[in-house]
């Protein structure tokens, strides 16, 4: 990879702490009053972060007299930046004025159609302007040109714990699992994500630009995930979606952590009881007389959000028994399920396909241990064969490697039955779709976020390097790793 122009669009230090951009964020407004608004599909919401008027926090009115304005959708389609602060405006000037990049690859895997031989990805500001061969894409003068053997979209890790769990693995950087209660969906990864965590930098340098991160499996419900870009000095800067999914775990990991549930069956019973409570809560919240409505309950609000289909349930279920339990729960309560882990999914491909449930598959190199004892390198290939939508995740490790790297996990799938492009899709396009951010990331297409990775060879080859990473039009790494 060579740089022909030195105007690298980096974020000046003085702007650290400013929101990168208004369009960056999907806000998850007040749960209680969002329940009724089922016509607004959240994955189409692109909203501004109301950071300066102190009226709102993620859609919640913070003080009296503030209107409960809906922010999602307001600023979609680049209609405006929505930033009143000087800070924000300066950042836009600083960043966008210089983000004129052309990434030229001997092969460009756009993941939106055929790979392009000698392809050009033109970037203006934070977005991809145009993608195509030189015959179709002219590089305007003044654009910094970066070249690479292989160019791919920024990698998307569909499920990680990075930023909640840290490199030191000490108490102060281990926020991945709250054990005070078995069911705590109200815990927000947003409130624990450390964007300056070294492991975030580690995966970013290896091409991961978007990650759904959150609590580790191990509680019946361990909280909500957050979807972030892997750069930015604050969670606000990094934010893509403030609630990715609500996480649940079934299986022996839960009974190992809690006295109750002490068994798998008890775990399922407890979750059912909690969802029934949430159904009743939702019904009471609809009562005409506000006096008769219950007082707000954060846990119930989140479960109601799951029940209403606004937020997906990410259920970690590795053994076939637990996968069936997860499918049964989704059927009983009608929520949108994404299966997580799914080590024995190969035993249940018909059931999973019929349920229309996507799978965020365990890391290919996951250890055969405990509930993942029966993992296979070939599960991804079997899901592909069955036509089941899946992504490959980095997952959670309590020891080493402290974070896995989805690029490496997909590589092992690529040498165990997946084609190259199928494996790449599992950590780009398909991963983005399953976590609901495919309108912005996961492929190289005009209008999408300028998240691009440059490789000096086949991305999956052990001896290839990631030689450049671009996020939102900013070059965040330029050394071969």
């Amino acid at each position: 990879m060579t740089s022909k122009n030195e105007t690298v669009p980096t974020i000046p230090q003085q702007f650290r702490g400013c929101p990168i951009s208004s369009e960056n964020v999907i806000l998850r407004p007040a749960l209680a009053f969002r329940v009724e608004e089922s016509d607004q599909k959240r994955d189409s919401s692109v909203a501004a972060l109301p950071q300066n008027d102190n009226c709102f926090l993620f859609g919640q009115p913070l003080k009296e007299g503030c209107h409960a304005t809906r922010w999602d959708g307001v600023l979609a389609n680049h209609s405006g930046w929505g930033l009143s602060s000087l800070c924000g405006i300066m950042l836009i000037l600083a960043s966008h004025a210089h983000s004129q990049l052309a990434v030229r690859g001997e092969t460009v895997y756009t993941m939106a159609g055929q790979a392009i031989k000698d392809g050009i990805v033109l970037i203006s500001g934070r977005k991809i302007e145009r993608v195509g061969p030189p015959a179709e894409v002219l590089i305007p003068s003044g654009y910094k040109v970066m070249t690479a053997k292989v160019v791919t979209p920024g990698l998307v890790d569909a499920h990680s714990v990075v930023g909640l769990t840290g490199i030191y693995n000490q108490k102060h950087d281990s926020d991945q699992l709250e054990l005070s209660d078995a069911i705590q969906p109200e815990l927000r990864a947003l409130d624990a994500y450390n964007p300056r965590e070294k492991l975030v930098e580690w995966i970013r340098d290896l091409g991961v630009t978007t990650v759904q991160t959150g609590p580790a499996p191990g509680a019946l419900s361990s909280g909500q995930t957050v979807i972030v870009k892997t750069y930015g000095g604050t969670v606000t800067e990094a934010l893509v979606d403030s609630i990715g999914m609500v996480t649940f775990t079934l299986g022996s990991d839960v009974s190992a952590n809690f006295k109750t549930p002490g068994t798998r069956t008890k775990g399922v019973a407890m979750l059912r009881a909690e969802f029934i409570k949430a159904q009743e809560y939702a019904a009471k919240m609809k009562l005409k007389d506000p006096e008769k409505r219950p007082s707000r309950d954060l846990k119930m609000e989140v479960l109601v959000q799951v029940l209403s289909g606004r937020t997906k349930a990410l259920i970690t279920a590795n053994r076939a028994t637990e996968i069936m339990s997860a499918l049964r729960l989704a059927q009983e309560f009608g929520f949108e399920l994404v299966l997580d882990g799914a080590a024995e999914a190969y035993l249940l491909v018909d059931e999973i396909r019929k349920a229309g449930v996507p799978v965020i598959l365990h890391p290919t190199m996951d250890r055969h241990y405990g509930d993942t004892r029966n993992v296979s390198f070939e599960t991804a290939a079997q899901l592909r064969k069955a036509g089941i939508s899946f992504a490959i995740q980095s997952g959670y490790e309590s020891y080493v490697p402290k974070t896995r790297v989805v690029l490496y996990e997909a590589a092992i799938a690529a040498t165990n039955g997946l084609t190259f492009e199928e494996a790449l899709a599992s950590i780009t396009r398909d991963a983005a779709r399953i976590i609901g951010v495919d309108r912005r990331v996961g492929s190289l297409e005009a209008g999408k976020d300028a998240d691009v990775v440059l490789f000096d060879g086949d991305p999956f080859e052990y001896t290839s390097h990631v030689c450049g990473v671009i996020i939102d039009g900013t070059v965040v790494s330029e050394t071969c790793k």
């Binding site: 250890r367 080493v400 040498t415 001896t463 390097h465």
Partner: protein
């Protein structure tokens, strides 16, 4: 019953004879002998469990009675030597003391444990199975050949487990072995405990020497002292877990004080003290982990550790530390070494000959050389490519893994109820890595 057995024997006889008597010739592969240059269109000839010839097609004549395997497009390498693994379901010292040199892991290994099958699927033919790192000294390790085995004796390199040295001595320093009493609470105490025991062993040895074989004058038998005398005399190599730069230097200091032979294992911060390690002429067996951290001592782990040690002149081998990394993906370690700057020949050596040297087994294994054991792997392609699979693994002229055989293949890929003995937990910090 008897006629059936007889019939079976008659059917099996030619096969057995073929394995033991007729030479086997593997033709047409790219051969990496590790000692010597790569050979295109090579021929490997084995007989009676030993290598009898290796060279180019024009240099090696295949005997008329040879069983010929044409393997064009394939790659042949020596069987891999894993210098540090926890396969086999063994255990080690208990919580009664921080130093337990009397413990032998060979007393606890289950030869039927399917993790051995996993290792064969990864091309590993020689392995140093070790007790964990939760002790300053957790016991005697076992050097094993991954033959099909009925008893542990079938796997051991040593001939007589009652009298021979059958492995190394596992030691550790740093945080893993710092625990509640009777374990040390600090690094300084760790070193003091080790020194005190070695001083005692020196004295014990002096008494043994002074007795000059007179049983009347011999000191009372002490199992821990007997094992440490072997260490002091260089007959048993210390296999030492260590991560941090200062812990590494502590090992070198103790090795110098007592004159024992040592191999440094993991060595996450080896790159910081590469010159000191090189000057001490101590080899390093390193591990490739996908990301740093997980414990404070491994925060500065780098992919280019091997490259920097190689550059400093240190002999480098890789290990799996299975279940920390997977025996089936051992080749990946070498590829990551090259990714970060190791030379290709040294990376391949680090999977084979370098490891053999660290176990004092280079006379038997580690390279494709006439007279050495016929331990080799047949790969589908370049050793450093992610797309390459181990197709066959041979130990002493006998095939022990064949990916084309479904019964073997399942151990290469996993699946339902394939591994009935679980991998070591990744969460037991005290025991591994």
């Amino acid at each position: 019953m008897i006629p059936f057995i007889t019939a079976a024997l008659i059917v099996m006889m030619p096969v057995l004879l073929a394995a033991q008597e007729s030479p086997h010739a593997f033709r047409g592969a790219m051969i990496y002998p590790v000692e010597g240059e790569p050979i295109e269109n090579g021929v490997l000839l084995v007989k009676g469990g030993k290598i009898v010839a290796v060279g180019s097609a024009s240099d090696v004549s295949v005997p008329a009675d040879a069983v010929v395997f044409d393997v064009p497009g394939k790659v042949i390498m020596p069987g891999f030597v894993d210098t540090h693994s926890h396969i086999g379901g063994g255990d080690g010292g208990d919580q009664s003391a921080a130093l337990q040199p009397d413990i032998r892991i060979l007393d606890a290994i289950d030869v039927r444990n399917d993790t051995f099958k996993k290792a064969r699927a990864g091309g590993i033919t020689t392995v140093n199975v070790m007790p964990g790192s939760g002790h300053l000294m957790s016991g005697q390790t076992a050097y094993l050949k991954l033959r099909e085995a009925n008893t542990i004796n079938d796997m051991l390199f040593c001939k007589d487990p009652l009298n021979d040295v059958c492995g190394g001595m596992k030691m550790a320093n740093g945080t893993n072995s710092i625990r509640e009493k009777p374990f040390p609470g600090t690094r300084a105490k760790s070193a003091a405990l080790v020194r005190q025991l070695f001083v005692k062993a020196q004295e014990y040895r002096a008494k043994v020497l002074a007795a000059k074989g007179d049983s009347e004058k011999m000191p009372k038998r002490e199992l821990d002292m007997e094992a440490l005398v072997q260490v002091l005399e260089g007959r048993r190599i210390v296999q030492h877990h260590t991560h941090r730069h200062d812990d590494i230097l502590t090992v070198l200091r103790l090795a110098k004080e007592f004159g024992f032979r040592v191999v440094l294992h993991h060595v996450s911060e080896g790159w910081k003290v590469a010159k000191e390690i090189a000057d001490a002429k101590v080899p390093c067996s390193i591990i490739v982990i996908d990301s740093p951290g997980g414990k404070l001592e491994a925060v500065d782990m780098r992919y280019d550790n091997g490259a920097m040690l190689e550059k400093a002149g240190v002999t480098v081998a890789f290990h799996t530390d299975d279940g920390i990394t997977d025996s089936r993906l051992f080749l990946r370690s070498a590829a990551f070494g090259v990714r970060a700057g190791m030379s290709r020949p040294k990376a391949l050596e680090a999977l084979t000959l370098a490891g053999a040297k660290m176990l004092d087994l280079e006379g038997r294994v580690g390279s494709l050389k006439v007279g050495k054991d016929a331990d080799f792997v047949i790969l589908s392609g370049d050793p450093l490519s992610v797309y390459t699979h181990v197709e066959q693994t041979w130990v002493e002229g006998t095939k022990v893994f064949d990916r084309s055989n479904p019964d073997d293949r399942k151990y290469a890929v996993g699946g339902y109820e394939v591994f009935r003995s679980e991998a070591k937990a990744n969460g037991c910090e005290g025991d591994t890595e």
